[in-house]
Assembly symmetry: C2
């Protein structure tokens, strides 16, 4: 196939540097937010990934007609919206649990049509909103999850830009579920012949191993054990649903809204 993405100005800034000058756009995976300073994010479209559960819930909420979801870094910022008198839903999660005093956390079952249609949600989470704020200088920030993966990938294919898949991870470290999703995106974008870096290769290889039974594969992770202790196994199962949504949440100013495509 013809590669339409030659003459990228970006490639010099790749931290791994293996594919300078090879004439196509880059598809890279940032395995944890702690590694984001290694990337010049303004050269990329960033996909933020926090499969269990923030970005899955954001995709589900936008799909279900939430007017906007405002990601904020701190619990205090989230609480401050209460004083502003807006009719916002306030969602705060830390360490996998709803913060006391808030309407809800980041369980996808809190983002149903009945609960969020027409409403604005202010959301802070342990990992996902952190990754989003660190990516703020990106060309564009979109939200990915298994729920909207094919719609997301089809849109990415129409963009003539470098793509950085940012895994929110767990407290700044690597986790398997976000990496597997990154690998699934790499899989769908293979036909476009992006230049991939080592993390993207690893993510895709792990996805190949896991794809026939994502749930079974993830059961062996430490994160799965922790989430099980939190009693959110139904949430986990829900977050592994593939293509039940066709919306792409995109950051517009300080709010995530449904992308018009």
């Amino acid at each position: 196939m013809i590669n339409k993405d030659s003459n990228s100005g970006h490639t010099e800034t790749s931290p791994l540097g293996g594919w300078e000058g090879l004439g196509s756009k880059g598809l890279e995976v940032c395995l944890t937010p702690a590694l984001l300073p290694l990337y010049k994010v303004e050269d990329y479209i960033v996909v933020v990934i926090d499969i269990f559960r923030a970005t899955s819930s954001i995709c589900y909420g936008i799909e279900n007609g939430a007017e906007a979801i405002i990601p904020v870094a701190q619990v205090e910022e989230c609480a401050a919206y209460r004083e502003k008198g807006f009719n916002y839903l306030l969602a705060a999660e830390r360490d996998g649990a709803v913060v006391s005093g808030f309407d809800f956390g980041n369980s996808p079952f809190s983002y149903t049509k009945e609960k969020v249609a027409g409403k604005t949600v202010v959301l802070t989470t342990t990992n996902g909103t952190h990754a989003l704020h660190l990516s703020i200088k990106a060309k564009r920030i979109v939200i990915g999850s298994f729920l909207n993966i094919t719609t997301l990938c089809n849109w990415l294919k129409t963009q003539d830009e470098n793509i950085l898949l940012v895994c929110a991870g767990w407290k700044n470290n690597f986790n398997l579920e976000d990496t597997l999703f990154a690998g699934a995106v790499v899989e769908q974008l293979k036909e476009r012949q992006y230049k991939t870096d080592d993390p993207a290769i690893a993510a895709n290889d792990l996805y190949q191993l896991a794809k026939d039974d994502l749930t079974g594969y993830l059961k062996k992770t430490s994160h799965s054990e922790r989430l099980k202790q939190l009693g959110i196994e139904e949430d986990i199962a829900f977050c592994l649903n593939v293509d039940i949504a066709t919306s792409i949440p995109v950051l517009d100013g300080d709010r995530l809204v449904k992308m018009e495509v």
Copy 2:
């Protein structure tokens, strides 16, 4: 098998936290030096890994009778040893090449018996010595490579300690070769029933994919492409030799020396 490693005091400090209280020592993988601040290194024996090529060359040099290898962070520190009048060999590598004015860099072929037996080498490299210095508070720091993997793992099995495998990576980011080696260590230590974290699971799964043809697998990496451009393919092939050494370099003060076992 009976697990002899119960009642670890360490587990509370695990950044992933999935295996607290499960009653055995931890075997964790730090995928890049940039993630080291997430670990309380004083709770671990650290294995420093920089397969292409620093830790492979260190293992080979110690095996070949080098009296000591002194890892230093900066090229200037390395150069300063010249003025001290010692009969040291000075080795400096940056971005894969020998720094001009130095005896040699980190090619394993510079660490033969003829060149290093009875001598002390002062070494600075892009990634490997960086990872080592960041790990300095560890209970013990040892050096790993495919050259000495079985000897290293057999020794680790005799230690009743948490183990952190620190991948030097490439300029603070993830690379495949160091991760694969970490996965190979996880494989050899499986019988000891350590508690592993997500990076260790991922590293081991990638190793399973690659183990039958490490060279072929690594050819698809960006790093391999870069190293090929540097003309060091013979070095790469050499660094993938398994078990040609039976020495374990260990940090003693500021010097890496042969461990007495």
